[in-house]
Symmetry: C2
């Protein structure tokens, strides 16, 4: 499917509402359970999404538009949420994500990105040259990736409860 | 996590709203694309969920409560949606799913299922003895499984658009 900025922005603006519908007012044990080992709970994922809004997506978009390939993106801290979310509730994280994502969408609109702009290249610290279009498409896919992860992690909390149906439910494997 | 009927019912009642937020008014190419081969598009999944409400979940719950292990569940047709959804729009399927899920939740409430009832056993055509609790837990996990599938399938439509980031996005593999 060809990238479309309007559809991508629309999809990004939906994520906070989807996550609130999925996770709001659920019992803590459902949102704090992970998939074992060092995997993330839905609570951890929310913190990660918030950190991305604050330090990753819009800052990188601005850097591409303003500096092209002359400045390399700051590496993204994938573990910042473990400190940043300490002592917070899921309801606080959902509200914060709504706010920071809304700010990101506003910032994106104000930049009036054109079809031409989407071809501008920036410099990723590991991947090298990437375009603005690839960055925004990645933002959308990153949301969907974590939505799938949250669904899967929630499902796994009922792994024992489903009994023999475990054999039929591919998400539990 | 221990099964809890109130939380399970709450989770089931949220799914139509989540799917509307995710899929409502999206361009057709995003909701009709699949993962290749015989995999399902989000449109196919919606039809499958509707068919489950009409023929699977509540009918099986009623059969367990009324007949225990004396009657075997009807096998579920996993391909009925390809005929049933023909000529319909995603908006129609979303509205139908809202309606049939709402009817299912009403039916569930009216049955006044107790903790004792959850232990009643029914007979699955392939899995053999299963409890009412396992059936309802499976319903919840089945929703989450298909939500993850829809997210993953949507993400894959941007597989080319993300460029070199493909290497970092586990959902695209």
């Amino acid at each position: 499917m060809h990238f479309n900025l309007t559809h991508a922005t629309d999809s990004l603006s939906r994520t906070p509402g989807i996550l609130r519908s999925l996770l709001g007012n659920l019992p803590n044990e459902w949102t704090s359970g992970n998939e074992g080992d060092q995997s993330w709970s839905p609570f951890d994922v929310l913190g990660h999404l918030i950190h991305g809004e604050l330090t990753d997506w819009i800052p990188r978009i601005k850097l591409i538009v303003e500096s092209g390939e002359s400045k390399t993106f700051e590496p993204f801290d994938r573990f910042a949420q473990f400190e940043a979310s300490k002592g917070k509730s899921m309801e606080e994280l959902l509200a914060t994500f709504e706010e920071v994502r809304s700010n990101s969408i506003d910032a994106l609109h104000k930049m009036n990105i054109t079809e031409e702009d989407l071809k501008i290249r920036g410099k990723h610290p590991e991947l090298g040259a990437v375009t603005l279009e690839e960055l925004i498409a990645t933002w959308v896919v990153h949301d969907l990736d974590h939505l799938a992860q949250i669904s899967r992690t929630m499902a796994k909390q009922y792994k024992e409860a489903v009994g023999p149906w475990q054999a039929y439910l591919s998400i539990l494997k």
